[in-house]
Symmetry: C3
Subunit: 324 residues, 3 copies
C-alpha cells in the first residue's frame, strides 16, 4: 500500500524530520512530537498578531500540479504565520508547457534557494519522487499525491481526535465512505495504527474497499448501522464524484441512503462521539446538513487545527523546533 521504497527517506540520520511524505515508517514518538508542537502553535492563530519569526527569510514554494485552493491556502497561511516567504506555482501553466522536465523545474527552484516544496500531484508517488531527487538543503511536504497519501490531513485529524478524546487506546474509530480511492483514508489508517487506537473500523460498500484491507488491522463493515455502533469517532470521507462516474455505485442518492450520516444514524454511536470530514463536504451526499452543522461536528475545528499542524511540520523540517 505504501510502496515507494525507503521509508527512511523522510528522516535525517538523527531521526528528525526532513521531509513529510507519508506516515509509513514514522514512529509513535515522532508523531506525538508533531502533535505536541502543533498544540503550541494553536495559540498563534488566536493572537492579535498571528506571526512568529521562526522561518523568517525561508522560501516555501507551493508546487501544485493539481489545483486545490483550499489546501494551498492552509499551507500558505501556515508559512506566513511562521514569517516565511511563499511562492505559489501552478506548474501546469508554465514550465511543463514549454516542455521542461519536472526534474529541471525542481533543479531551477533549488538553484533559486527555495527551502521547501509543498507538493500536490494527481499521481501516487510524486512527492516521494521529488524528495528522492531533492537537493540536500530542500525539504518536501506531501500535500496529497494520487491515491497514496495525505499525511498532514491525517495529522490534523489525529490532532482533532486527541483534543477531544485524549488517549487513543480506548477509542473506537470508524472511517466511512470511499476507502478505495482515498489517500486521506490510507494516511488516517496508518496514523491510527501508529497511535494504537483501540479499534479501527472501515465502513463502505464492497466495491469501495481495497483488496488489501484485511491486512490493515481494521474491521470491515458493509452495513453502516452495525459499523457505527458504539464508536467514539466518525470520520466521513469525501465522495470523489468525478471518480464515481465509472459507476461503481448507482447514484449519489443511493449512496446517501446506505452510507450517508444522518441524525438518526449518529445516535447509534456513543453520545459524545465526534463527527469529522476532510472537506469540502457534499451536503446530502456524505452527510446530512443537520449533522454537518450539529453539536457533534468538529469539521470546522479541523480546518483551524490544520494550520497549526502544518506550522509544526514546516518548522520541524526547516527549523530547530517549535516556538518556546
Amino acid at each position: 500500500m505504501e510502496a515507494f521504497g525507503n521509508t527512511r527517506l523522510q528522516l535525517r540520520d538523527n531521526g528528525r524530520l526532513r521531509h513529510f511524505l507519508t506516515l509509513d515508517g514514522i514512529g509513535r514518538e515522532l508523531l506525538t512530537e508533531i502533535l505536541d508542537n502543533a498544540e503550541s502553535f494553536t495559540g498563534v492563530s488566536e493572537r492579535t498578531v498571528k506571526k512568529v519569526p521562526l522561518l523568517r527569510g525561508k522560501v516555501i514554494a507551493n508546487l501544485f500540479f493539481e489545483n486545490s485552493t483550499r489546501t494551498r491556502t492552509t499551507f500558505e497561511l501556515a508559512a506566513k504565520r511562521l514569517s516565511a516567504d511563499v511562492l505559489n506555482l501552478n506548474i501546469d501553466a508554465s514550465a511543463t508547457s514549454k516542455g521542461e522536465s519536472l526534474l529541471d523545474t525542481l533543479r531551477n527552484l533549488e538553484a533559486m534557494h527555495c527551502d521547501m516544496f509543498v507538493v500536490r500531484h494527481a499521481s501516487s508517488g510524486a512527492a516521494h519522487f521529488i524528495a528522492r531527487h531533492a537537493a540536500p538543503h530542500v525539504s518536501v511536504i506531501n500535500a496529497g499525491d494520487g491515491r497514496h497519501a495525505h499525511p498532514t490531513q491525517a495529522m490534523l485529524d489525529m490532532f482533532t481526535i486527541r483534543r477531544h478524546k485524549g488517549d487513543f487506546s480506548q477509542l473506537r474509530v470508524a472511517i466511512v465512505g470511499d476507502i478505495l480511492h482515498s489517500r486521506v483514508a490510507r494516511s488516517q489508517i496508518l496514523a491510527l495504527n501508529i497511535l494504537r487506537a483501540g479499534e479501527l473500523r472501515i465502513i463502505a460498500p464492497r466495491t469501495l474497499i481495497p483488496a488489501e484491507a484485511r491486512n490493515l488491522g481494521v474491521h470491515v463493515y458493509h452495513d453502516m448501522d452495525k459499523g457505527l455502533n458504539g464508536v467514539d469517532v466518525i470520520i466521513m470521507l469525501r465522495l470523489q464524484r468525478e471518480r464515481m462516474r465509472g459507476a461503481r455505485l448507482p447514484s449519489e442518492h443511493e449512496f446517501f441512503q446506505r452510507y450517508g450520516l444522518t441524525e438518526q444514524r449518529l445516535r447509534l454511536a456513543r453520545p459524545d462521539a465526534i463527527v469529522m470530514h476532510p472537506g469540502p463536504i457534499n451536503r446530502g451526499v456524505e452527510l446530512d446538513s443537520h449533522v454537518a452543522d450539529g453539536a457533534q461536528s468538529v469539521i470546522l475545528q479541523q480546518v483551524g487545527f490544520g494550520i497549526a499542524v502544518r506550522m509544526a511540520v514546516m518548522s520541524m523540517a526547516l527549523g530547530p523546533g517549535p516556538a518556546p
Copy 2:
C-alpha cells in the same frame, strides 16, 4: 434602492464600523471620520517606506467572485501598507467548482482565522449576505456588488472632492452617464446626501435613469449642456459596454455625441470645476482624451486617494483607529 435590511448590520453596538457594506445608514460624523483617517494615511503612500504596522499579523482575504485586477490591487496595496497578510482568492476557480456552497467556503476561511473578507460579486446583496453570516471576529468590506453599492469607491470620490473643494454645502455636483446600472452612482448619491452637498444633479438619457430617481433628492437632466451649467464637480460614470448590447442606446458614438465630456462642454461648468471618473476610462466614449488628461481632471489622484481611503476603512474595522 438599498433594500438589504438591517442598516445597523455594519456598525458595532458602540457605533464603530464593523463591516463596510453600504453608505445607507452611515451618519455624517462617521463618514467624516473615515475621510479624516484617510487624510492621515495619504502621507504613508508618499513616504520612502510605505508601511505602518497597524494590521501586522492580520489576514485579509480578497474574495473576488467577479474579476477586477484594478480594484483587487488597490485593496491589496492598502492591506500591505498596513502590514497585513493578504490572500487572493478567485472563488470561481476553486471551491465552487467542487460544488462547495458559499457559506461552507466562508466557514472554512473563518476557521483559518481570516480577519477580513473584501468581497466583489456580480450579484446585488452578496456582501450583505456574507456579512450577515460572518463569524463575530470577521469584518466584511463590499468591493462592489451587482448594481447595488461600491462604498469605498464613493468614499474616495468624496475624499477627492473634499481635497479640492473643502466644504460640501455650497457645491453643485453632476453625475453623468449610466445611472441605472451603476453601483458607483448609487453609493455616490448616498454619500453626497449624507455630506449635504449643495445641489446634486444626474445627467442621463431617460432609459438610463432608475424609476426611483425622483426620490433621491437629485435634479434630473436629460440635456447635458443644461446639466453642466455652473457645476463645481463633474463625475463621469463608466459606460458598461457589455450592458449596452441590450440596445438601450443606439451606439457608443451617439452616446458620446449626447453625453460625452468634451473641452467645449466642460466650459459650461465653473472654471475651477474638477472632472472625476472611477476608471477604467473609455476614451472617446465617456470623455474626450483632452479632458481626461487635462488640467481639470483629477482622475489619477482618485486612484491614489483610493488606497488611503481603503487603509482608513480597513484599520477602522479591524484596529483601534488610524495611525497617530
Copy 3:
C-alpha cells in the same frame, strides 16, 4: 539593432541607473559595478535569513504581458530578498480586456505609488515605450521584450563567466543557436563587447543569423566543430520551437545533428570550458543530457546568480546602492 532611440533614457543625470532596458549605451564601469554589487548579494541567498531591508516599503510590480513563470519567479524572489512588496499582474487577463490602454494602466499603477515596473512583453521596444512614459518616481526593468533585449539575463551570464574565468580580455566565447530570434543573444553580444571579451564567435546556420551580424564585432561560424575549437565559454541558446514552425530548419533532429552540444563536440573546446544556457533547456535538441548535467555545465549556477544580479539592478535603480 538597438534602435529605440535615446540610450541615455535609462541613466540619471549623474550617470546612475534609473531604468535597466538594454546594455546599449551602458559603460564598462557601470556594468562592472552591477557585477560587483551582485557579488555582494550572492551571500544573501545562502544565509539562513535570506533578507536585507534595502527596499522595505517599496512596491515592485511584475507586469508580464507574456507569460514566464520562471523569469517572474526570479524577479519576485529578488524583490522579496530586498524586503520589497511585490504585485504580480498578468495584464492580459484584466485591464486590456476592458479596453483600457496600456498607458492608462501605467498611469494607474503610478498613482498607486508603485516604485518599479518589471516588464515582459512579446513586442520589441515595449520596455522602452513604458520607460519613456513613466512618471519620474518610477523605474522600469526590461525582463525581455520581443527579439530585442533581455539585459538582466545577459548580466547574469557575464556574472557567471567572471566567477569562473575572471578576466574577459583573454576569453574566447561562442554563442550557439538561433541568434536571429534571440533577445538573449543580442544582449550577450553587447555585454561581451562592453566588457571587451577577447574573441566572440557566433555559431548558427545561415538562416538563423541576422543580416547585420558582420557589424557586431563577432566571428561567424556555420560549422559547429570549427566554431567550438579552443573556446573558453560555450553559450547555448534556447531553440524557440514555436518560431521554428516557419520551417527555417527541417527538424529538431537535424538541428541537434548539426548544432547540438554533445560530449564529443565539447572536447573541441578548452578542457576547462564552461557550458551555459539561459533555460529552460530542451534536452536532446540544443544539448545532450550528459553535457547539461556534466561537470562543465554551469547552467544551474546561472539561475542562482540571476537572483543576485536582479537584486543588484533593483537596488541600484531604487536605492542608494548595495548592501554594505
